[in-house]
Symmetry: D3
Subunit: 337 residues, 6 copies
């Protein structure tokens, strides 16, 4: 089971100049064979299918815990794509919503499903518009093989991230790839070390692959300076306690000590991306939904204003209202299991 | 982001008579168009792509929060399949591991990938062995449409669960479908109510679809008696506070009041399913991994015994050891973000 | 545009002993690369895309008209599969509908989607459970090539039909394949002749392929005796008048004259296949739908009894009622375009 | 079975400025998940698989009859795409046919299969060039579910049509989407009402979805003014007589009475789109085919001139010749079944 | 370019008891993600796409040369499957060919395409009947990554071969897997060493994976005894001369020296598998083809008897005739490039 | 089995102006339904699955031998694509390798996988970026049908080659299509003649299809002048001796005699395409691999310089060194099978 936190893993810039062609390319990091859906769902299935967990607990904990972080990476790729698509259609509602040829400038640009199927939103597809599929999951049950796969998967993922970095200059794409390169690197190291612990094979000598030093990527530097290239966070309040049995020793690129951090990163609130009424997201007339929402809140005894935390949110007042709503909500709880 | 809890949503029976043909059928609830991968990833993508979240907060919270519960349903389907496949190959290691024709009795039985590709583990495939794919995700960004889709998705899912219940009598499959029918029913109600709140359309009159009353399914009864057909749990420590603005009013089948529960269910520990060395899961000689694991733990200053909690675990002593390990692990934490 | 006639192309036997494994095999004739969806949709797309129709009218008419017949073949394959699946679950409603393990005997038998996804109904899939897809359509626009493709397609289709005949002995499958072999043969001849008319190449010498004489198949004989192996029917009240410019001369197997028949065959009413409440088709409690239907008819000024013609229908009284309903319905027609 | 009429559902403009990128986008309405192949084949399969038709006759008639209209929509989308692709390669035959780099300006433009695979013709693919496939069909056999699906399908289809309208300004695309929005709206209403009749749920309150009023689309207006948003046509000479038992009452947007029209619309002749010899459609030297065709007609005792009716056809003389040919053809009919 | 030799890589037993269910399982080694189509086409594409070949010649030679051997493995898997399917339909021609229900016993057994689509022949599909596809190819161009992939691919392939060995006891399957395990092991070693040479990483410590010692498999023993686990053959008359720069040093399991053999193995003639007229392979009446073939040979000045070498061939007389035919054929050669 | 020759079938020009959009189009000839992967693998599978080879030897030899030539065509398409992609990213290593936005100009251009997934290399995909798959293989086992398919396949392939010729003017694409049109024409003739020999049907009258005379394509002329449109080469040192029993008589377009050539063409060395470090092909720092390679050669007793033959190779000195290396290599050969 999971608990969900309404925050994203790292800061992304707010929407700026839209980049639909760039967003189409970034999809490779979402639904490509080596995209984040693949890392998330590979490790997740491997953890679900893990036999004799107690006997191999440090390895189970490692795979299950990295899976949890990968959810946040899928979320982050989506946030970057959504940011890059924001503003690609006119947003000054009153005058620009349909019936206008609002999508005409996007004919032949980027992934047509961003506009025709979705609401300028991320898709479970790769950079060619092909859907992610279950054949991208490898879960043999053989621990050494699964770990070998995972190491290869992270290597292919690093390749793709570097190339997306080279192709897409949009600030959201750069913030995304800079972060993912550093965190993906930690997972690559983790799987290499796990194989080393089981077999003695020194895969650390394969670092970095591709051979460009991570620190050369400008957007990686702040994360490296913060030490995030060394840390494996534990994404669970109480479980996966044996990570440090595997994840330890020196980092292959820098020689610094690897570190298990006993708490997951707090993350940051996401930007509340504006409506795009030309594609009916979330509606042809979004303001009507907002009115309904307010009424529903009031009727349910919640605060009149929305409670969620967003990067482009309002004053602390909002937050105190949110706290109050929370208190109210708690009182309503009639039963627990 | 998520936090992961190493527990499953409800109790499943321990492995008994294996049922590979049944496990192949249960795959429909995993990777079928209406399987749990679909419910989980549909709501997850919709929440990622949700525009103007503050303006439509109660609806955003609803979709994002149900997504979180669905992760646990994917996990539960996997656990049921793994339980049903346990013992399908000989497990008395010393004498039965390869080279023996250990898989000969499974030739032509069930999904061949359960044995040839995986390690007697769940697959991201449907009952025909076809992989789940991203075309099963609908995320138009139009709130009313997405909710209409979700209502339809839950209806199709209910159909599939009922039929799997009718086809597969293995106790793990029955425990699974009984639970999922009740919880899926809550989500069906939630989406119907959300549409009602937005448009006034009374979809509650479509309940139940298929028209068989849920309470007629014996394995649903305990969950109904506990009131789980009325409760929407909040799967987040601090977020998604506005569920009650949408999820309220009478249940369409029973007339009882719907309830938002402010905490996620605790869940139960999963069974640690035994090794299946005939398929090298987790190894041809799993005992060697256990030895390595123990040494690694000791070397890392953790407890000698494994710390994880499992249904078929050891004495309370184990638990106290686990607590100690946890304490130790915490001390090691050098930095937080 | 089309007009639809609620009749099927030839008589099929009523449901008898169900044959789910046979139904799974017959799916090859539905959704296989050479199945009837392929013949129907290939010719349909070719006719839609036909350029310079006036200049090549006899060939356009030929392709467009055969497409129309193929719709009826898709329908017939569906009817055969549905017949074969009827009774595979218990039909004595009161006692056997869910919650009973009504599908347990079908675990591991045939195509699981016949039961888990569908309501014991035909699927757009092949004998392996893989969906038909648009890659099976060839529409190059080059007339000679498209005709060459069509000839090859009919040849592959004949191969598949013969093998399904050999594999599946259920009377519905045999009636189906006997009919399709004869009608497919006519289309094969038509395309061969069309190529001959355009290029002079004598493809008639390729008959029959596979080389088994059609008349050796017992279920083909009645259709041959009726002369149906020689006739190309015109499936349009007013159009496709130039068929006879291409379809003429001797039949390659028998030497008899080919004939264009200026009217489509009348067809026969289909059997109204009974409800299968175990799979909720058309409902868990079908009798309630019947009640609603009757009320709706009465309220709309139609006859109390259903009007449609079915093979297992009621007395002439029904028919006269039907006529009356028709008269009533006509009066209601307020406008025509 | 069907009868085919060589006319299209509504007028499209003749070819003008070609728009290959627009044609690629319009493919979403052909082979997309919510395209016309999906509406046509979903309802068709549901009608084939319908059990207990007599018991649920009004609903069977509704689904089967709407399926018949949808064939004409697939045809219309094809005609629009073909119109938009006409002229994209040089058509002045003598000088421009291969070997010339006639396709060079199309490199990297639109869907490459429009030129490399097809003859500037419609494809069974979506806007991304992915083939339509059978997974897009839902035919559960459960009547309420199938209708719920159909309502959702029409909703998704409306979304896609509106967005294609916004993206593609080519007059053929606009004529197409204007017409389809109105007719699709009728089907959406029909399924909503059918669900209401069976369950009491008032889905009419979901209209319109997306929430943009249909009358705001200029190309919809003429169809609305003619009343086509209220009419369900009966696409059969004798069958599907019980439509009015379901399709009645007020229209959800306008409050006007819904109407069953007892005859299908007459339609209009399609434009005979010119040859595109650069892609060999229908030939490298199409004039040779025309010569052959004429000879074949004469030899078969038909008129010297082609008989088919096309929008860009010749004088009334042509028509009288057509009538004569028809008479001739009829005389040849030697047998009926 | 290639030259083709009409021999297979190792001896397979002649057809015996057919095993259609086993043949369906062996398909995993053909068209599965880790099947021989994957190894062959991965290395082939990597060699095609290899940049700066001269600069990385030993590695180019290694990949290109192993690709060549893999063709023979694809061929061998096909031969094994064909052997296992031989006799599954009656072969006593006169009495058993269609129209007989010759395929009835195969309904629901194995892969239906073995019978309905193919002529009891191998398919480009996996054990679930899903086609091999290009997504199984990895060709990043980054040498270290491609080699890491290849090592992982061979590891997954070893897993699948071992499990097929355990599942299928048919002598052809056992002969196949025994041989492939030994030869695949050589390739696994070759890629590990190549990575070691480039990076220093000691992947040899990962051997064997899965951890079952190869020598435990009885059918591997003869190949190991012959030394085939140590040899990399050069599959080219003149090229790929630098294999020994990479492939050298001790074998990770036995410590013996690895060896480059400067000539490809001679192979052995394949069995000429008998006709299966029930599926029209190669014809309904194969004897007629034989007559035609003889006439064509005589007319072309070749020997009256067939010239090819097969395992179940005729006396040396045949061979001398073959030599004569060869001489004749050579004389006809009028030109060389 | 095969032997591999490190040469390509015909000369291609060296890299010049890159053409990524053109390369994306040429992919149709690689991984399209009618691309060279299809011709190669269709004939290969048909030869593997050929039953009663001795009885139908001339036909077996024909199919198996053409398969061997097709490998070289796949290779040639790859070489052309790779040539066209060379230089699309900056190659002046020192200054242009990452981290630079080296791929920014390629955003939205051509097939994104050429850059994001591959290393500016050919893909097993079509012009839409969809992977080749096994459904493109037809191997019914029925000889007449398989040959009919092959004739149709070559016809479709000719269509695609002509259109790629018209679309892509890059010299490598033109050299490629000119060659393939001539060689594909030979195969088309061969299959037509084979069908004629078996059935008497005169498919020669279908030539050419599409009807544009081959000699009109400028890049075809040199091959025609050399007589390559008449020759079937025997791609085997000793086997496939009965080609001339089928491949004989007059060419359908020119009337000249068809000829079997008893040896395969020598081919020409390929260009050694330069590194593209922006995509890490073969490395971020390719010069380091070259150093390692040299050391490995020396250590293994091979020449210091690379031995392979490439079109842009060095002086004869290189060649003599190559010969020496060969001698050395041979001496090392310790064992043969």
């Amino acid at each position: 089971m999971i608990r969900r936190i309404d925050r994203i893993a790292t800061e992304l810039p707010p929407p700026s100049e839209p980049d639909p062609a760039g967003a189409a390319a970034v999809q490779e990091l979402m639904g490509g064979r080596f995209g984040e859906m693949s890392t998330f769902l590979n490790y997740t299935f491997q953890s679900f299918n893990f036999r004799n967990r107690q006997g191999a607990r440090p390895f189970y904990d490692l795979v299950a815990n990295i899976a949890a972080e990968e959810f946040g990476h899928v979320e982050l790729v989506a946030a970057a794509i959504n940011t890059m698509l924001t503003g690609a259609t006119p947003t000054a509602n009153g005058r620009t919503r349909a019936p206008k040829a609002s999508l005409a400038p996007l004919k032949g640009v980027g992934n047509p499903h961003h506009f025709l199927a979705g609401g300028q939103g991320a898709l479970p597809q790769n950079s060619q518009g092909r859907p992610w599929n279950g054949d991208y999951i490898f879960s043999s049950g053989d621990l050494v093989e699964d770990l070998t796969h995972n190491f290869f998967l992270e290597t292919g993922a690093r390749n793709n991230k570097l190339k997306v970095w080279e192709m897409v200059e949009h600030p959201a794409a750069r913030a995304l790839t800079g972060y993912l390169l550093v965190r993906g690197g930690v997972h690559q190291v983790a799987y290499a070390r796990a194989i080393e612990r089981l077999t003695g094979a020194d895969l650390m000598k394969l670092f970095p692959t591709p051979r460009i030093p991570t620190e050369k990527i400008p957007e990686c530097k702040p994360h490296i300076q913060r030490g995030d290239h060394l840390r494996l966070y534990r994404f669970s309040p109480k479980d996966y306690l044996e990570l440090s049995a595997v994840f330890n020793g020196p980092h292959p690129e820098t020689g610094e000590d690897l570190v298990v951090v006993d708490e997951a990163p707090e993350g940051v609130p996401a930007h509340d991306l504006p409506s795009q009424p030309a594609v009916f997201a979330p509606d042809y007339a979004p303001e009507e939904i907002a009115e309904i929402a307010e009424k529903l809140r009031v009727k349910a005894g919640l605060s009149k204003s929305p409670t969620g935390e967003v990067a482009n949110g309002r004053s602390p007042a909002t937050k105190s209202r949110a706290s109050k709503a929370r208190a109210t909500a708690r009182k309503k709880t009639p039963a627990k299991r």
